[in-house]
Symmetry: D2
Subunit: 136 residues, 4 copies
């Protein structure tokens, strides 16, 4: 049987840490952005691209837009699969980032638009596209 996590170029298994819960005993909504960012950075690492190394060369990838739907909250003890696809639209890199519980239940679905700044100004993103060419 097909698992919904099969359709992605990159996936990362993570687990909830209790300090990420809030007073409603579910993962606080801001922490999903941490999960998404960490997934992007691990994907970049797998693609041979380092955010810190780029930063030192004056190139900063920054979030330009975020759309996220929350389906089912994560709770203490949950493990989950954070999945990612990437496409390029001119200077914009569109990350489709979805999180599923291990059994396949959707947790969040998101579209994260990243642009590259070069010395603080919007760039065409060619350095980033070069790093991701195997996935675009």
């Amino acid at each position: 049987m097909k698992n919904p996590t099969d359709d992605y170029a990159f996936r990362l298994e993570m687990e909830v840490r209790d300090y990420e819960l809030d007073c409603e005993q579910i993962v606080n909504n801001a922490n999903y952005l941490h999960y998404l960012e960490h997934t992007r950075h691990k994907f970049c690492q797998a693609a041979g691209y380092s955010f810190m190394a780029m930063h030192e060369e004056g190139i900063d990838a920054v979030v330009r837009k975020l759309e996220m739907e929350y389906f089912s909250p994560l709770r203490s003890g949950d493990t989950f699969i954070s999945c990612l696809n990437i496409e390029r639209k001119g200077p914009r890199f569109i990350f489709h980032q979805d999180i599923f519980k291990k059994e396949g239940e959707p947790v969040v679905k998101s579209v994260v638009t990243i642009v590259a700044l070069k010395d603080g100004k919007l760039s065409k993103g060619d350095e980033i596209a070069e790093a991701f060419k195997a996935y675009l």
Copy 2:
């Protein structure tokens, strides 16, 4: 002259705390969700509504959907105005939450959709609507 922050039902002045910066020396994108949440809770407090008191009665307001655009990053030392309007669409409460630098420059613009769970199940949101009636 008109300031863009005039068009909102609620506004809150805040300032960047240095621990909110990340290695790119700008406020990490997840922290804007903290700013937005804190603004909603202060708005609720001003409206006489307490998240914790509601939680103890079995009613949890949870984020269902988030759309956010990032215009200009916040940096160390910045103060900003976090602004909010609210509308109801059936069981959904739509928060229009925009952040501006003090001089009026936009930082982020967002639409946050909240639903109310009652004992874990989606409710019609009438308890929340009652609390916010002066603003809807």
Copy 3:
């Protein structure tokens, strides 16, 4: 050759996530408390003890005292071993929690004193001691 991480009852391998870095490009000092807490909770889980299950029975383990020395900062890309020993001193549970880089270099050394509250009041900690008896 002996590795300094051999002397502990529990150890957990973790890696730095870039959102944990601050504007000095090192892990922000508060995040070490997150690492320590997560390590304690994973240790508890290994010992068959659940913080959330205990919380629902009215027993909350809370930090009473913390002593921490910082030796060498963690940076982007670092993996580390978070190590733990536990001893009981009456109602107090003393966690000796040290973090090392993979090569054995010390990062932080800490002593975390935990007490148990039962319905909000200091307890003798017997429920917790029962859960940890294999390690005390």
Copy 4:
């Protein structure tokens, strides 16, 4: 009548933000380090010292040691006073940082030892001492 917060060189009023609570519905212990850091930075700002400006000159103030006692937890809606005294011991700057509820009840008491790195190496701290001379 004397308030315990009178005995400090610097004090800052803050309030709990709900995202700082954890699943035990009290402020998570790591967030006190955020409160302490923010208080130090606001103190530095009042003394005319900027962490970011120093960082750009190659001088980083880093935490070397932390001792903290937790007396009474902060909860949703609490406001508190974060207080600070500073003394110099050679290359070490000792911050005595205590937090009280508004009515004077102690929340945490801490001693935070800071050292200055210059281009990554331990410095004598003379640049920092110069900035703080009115308080030492």
